[in-house]
Symmetry: D2
Subunit: 304 residues, 4 copies
């Protein structure tokens, strides 16, 4: 039996003393302002025991981590039909390249790159009555936490600087793979990226992916098959062009965001969320990657 509490504290202590914490994302002012010394971990095991270390209850911008949640809601609405509009292969390329989109006639490589997530957002705009409200409701519901919210300032900044996302959405539109208006889809997309959560909330939200589709209150949100697919996608595509390295070093399905958050999980065992705002050269949280690598090495817990 692994003593998660002591493992977590040991790792938090060791990694937390690193001098090189990477670089905080600066592309929007709201992210640039975050204190680089923030560092939290939260783990939730299969029996719903929770373990915390550091700044695990400070909210941060989850950014791309939200792509897994929008994908889940879209899958629960339209099921496998989603795969007619977005592929499931690793992109082998940084998260914002449009080249592949052209080569592949407007079908994004997978739902976790920006172009793919924009298609998923388009699906939600089509199927939800009040997209932003309903999506937030979904998150609050699976996390059992009505305090989770969008940061409107962040959403506004994303919009003001999101030229590459506008480029992607228009390119998708030219391939008829965006059914709603560019502005409407991106307004939803920028809000989804501007969701704020703490490590604790993040681990609780992702609990369903390690618990066969059942959330903390034991409600079923996804089929076992859908969970398997989402986990496979997180493993192969969750870390931009560092996906192979993550599978290799960590060996867990997971997803990172440029806000410095990472969430990962071992099916039927645990969900873990980390936050440290400094990023490595590939755009993933520097300390977060080290935490997860150390955690799986020390505990021997990985899918491989």
């Amino acid at each position: 039996m692994i003593d998660f509490k002591s493992v977590l504290h040991k790792i938090h202590y060791e990694i937390g003393s690193r001098k090189d914490r990477g670089t905080v994302a600066t592309y929007i002012p709201e992210l640039a302002k975050v204190d680089i010394n923030k560092f939290g971990i939260h783990l939730l095991d299969k029996d719903k025991n929770s373990y915390s270390a550091g700044d695990s209850t400070t909210p941060f911008s989850i950014q791309s981590i939200s792509k897994v949640l929008s994908l889940s809601l879209a899958l629960s609405h339209i099921g496998e039909k989603l795969w007619e509009r977005v592929d499931v292969e690793p992109s082998g390329d940084p998260f914002n390249h449009l080249s592949l989109l052209e080569q592949e006639n407007g079908i994004p490589r997978n739902p976790l790159i920006n172009a793919g997530a924009i298609v998923v957002a388009d699906v939600l705009v089509s199927v939800l009555d009040n997209p932003k409200k309903d999506f937030l409701e979904f998150i609050r519901n699976i996390a059992n936490d009505s305090s989770i919210n969008y940061n409107e300032e962040v959403a506004k900044s994303e919009k003001a600087t999101g030229f590459r996302n506008y480029a992607a959405a228009n390119l998708l539109k030219s391939y008829k793979n965006l059914h709603n208006e560019v502005e409407e889809v991106l307004d939803f997309y920028f809000h989804q990226c501007a969701l704020e959560m703490t490590c604790q909330q993040l681990a609780r939200t992702f609990f369903l992916f390690s618990n066969r589709g059942h959330c903390l209150q034991n409600q079923k949100h996804l089929s076992i098959n859908q969970v398997k697919r989402i986990n496979a996608l997180m493993l192969t595509c969750g870390f931009y062009d560092e996906a192979g390295e993550f599978a290799f070093e960590v060996g867990l399905p997971g997803k990172s965001g440029v806000g410095g958050g990472i969430v990962a999980l071992l099916p039927n065992h645990f969900t873990v969320a980390t936050w440290s705002p400094g990023l490595n050269k590939k755009g993933n949280s520097k300390l977060g990657m080290e935490v997860l690598e150390k955690f799986t090495t020390e505990t021997g817990l990985s899918i491989f």
Copy 2:
């Protein structure tokens, strides 16, 4: 001494009887409505003698041909500094590919592909007081013809369907190679593409490129060096990914548009404009290409 009149009529007669006239562009309704049987030629020699055949006084949408004119006006305003923002190499790729733009950090390959022409439009929006009005004035001035105008319906349609141009403009913006607002630049760009001219007007407008920068009224608009550069660009980049074929088959600097117009010229000899709305597979006027090929073969007049 070549008898342009009889050569033109012979070619118009022969080529005009072709059954396969290509396919009219359908991406906007206004272009799709054009009668595929329209077919005109107009030639203006260095002594300002003019020769017509067929529908040479029917106006059509000049589309991408306008890129040469906006380039000329931009060059006359900011000179060589333009080349810091756009390159002069053939693209070796269809006119709307964004891949190269990413590979080359937001510097378009040349000013005659869409992305390059959008940068040129951005320059004009910066330097002109009333961009659309002033640009039209410039055209009317060099053509000595105040009847030339934008087709507002076409401009509106371009805007409603121009997702790839929105994608390109936003991508340029993300590389900081677009200084004005996307909407403002594209509004100008869509109008420039929506200019309407007859073959006669087109030949008269382009007279300055075969006349060392002096227009029909002998006003100087471009330096000899600028004319040389623009002609070199037309030869190497004027026909999308058929540029090599055009240099090879025709051997004249020229520019085509998806409205079915083509203009070409031999420095110090003549300017010729053709119009036939059916396009070949590469997006250039099918009969127009044949006219120019036959014309240079029959007369032996080419730059090579």
Copy 3:
């Protein structure tokens, strides 16, 4: 407790009745000659119990499956230094594309695409006294089976038609990422691909990847960390541009070959090998993919 025997027979019966069995690879005559109706499965569980169905003792050409074995031997010799010469990211591209090699200055995307496997072969040619002999010895040793051998006819045919591999090896050489002579490295590589095994032998050979690096005779060949890395690579890169689909549909680390073989495994649970020579459009065994998908669906055994 899952009854592997009845599951295997049920699946073999159901899938074996498929009329569309894909297309046998024809690029070398030796592969084209194989009977498309051959179909075998062999499973070895963690307690070394074995289960067979169909043609599980007929030898076939393992082709690219050998890349995992050469990688293992290279890793056991030079360890992590290997990653200076080959990356660990999914290629997102068919197995024989050279484009990425140029873009990335001669560092292959991963050791399971051809270019990467050729670099691994180069390492073995450098470190082994008698590369072909020693590699075969290694395989026979971990499989505990001295009857395993190269098919010299196949190796010869590979060489005679292997122009793309010659292109890749020469390109690697131009980037100084091939230290030995092209001919010597490819001679080794073509032999490695020409290894013949039965489903039974294949499952026994790959037993060490599901058994923490210990082979059937309990000898340790790889560290736990090396096994984890190889399994991660098989999951993310083992199926060319169908890797994402495989992770998604099957959820097991595995590797396919154009001879129609596939081997897959669940760490600490089982190793399974299938063979059916007909390939799907992506170059993986059609029935083999269906077997593994059905197997993980029916048993609920996958890493996710």
Copy 4:
């Protein structure tokens, strides 16, 4: 009437005093040994008057310039059928990239990039009885100079280091666009690149391209149409990814080689050859490019 003699000497004097002469190619020892201070010009006008400046009678390795000559001989043998195996579009990419070859299914972009020239070499190996001997004979004949020869040391070095050319040839072979053995074709190709000429010989050899296909002794080697095509190709593709810049700055059909030679011509006016071994960043002779730019600016002689 332009005084070529004084223009040439003035330019040779001015450009010859440049301190930054670029960098001598080092990829084979024979080229690296050449004295960077060598600098010659030779011009031959339409009336066969010749004008020299500097080291115009020192032989150097013509390298890629030979591609125009092999193309001419291939065209004179198989005519337009050549274009089924090689395209005529600018590559928009450095001379040795294989990516495009893959994208375009083994059809090189044009005959002046390496892959295209290797296809042309393959044609000559097929149609000539003694390829190396017959090709040399052809050159000697059009130059009316039996002293022109291959440098066997250079040819040998090209072979020993020509991994990218081996990669290209094997890739062409995989697409069935190379009919003879790789070794045989490359042996011819490496010899052709190892031809040595002086500026004087080079200008005399290329005289036929400015003289409607007739060489110095007035023998006809190419049709007017073939000359036009070759000149168009030199203009659009003769300077790797500096082709647009050359058309733009110089405005003459021409071809450069990594040995530091450049030859250019104005149809019906003159042929000019320059040699200075230091290359600019794009791989073209630094002083040579400046000579031609200055020459066309001072004389006003260009095709535009």
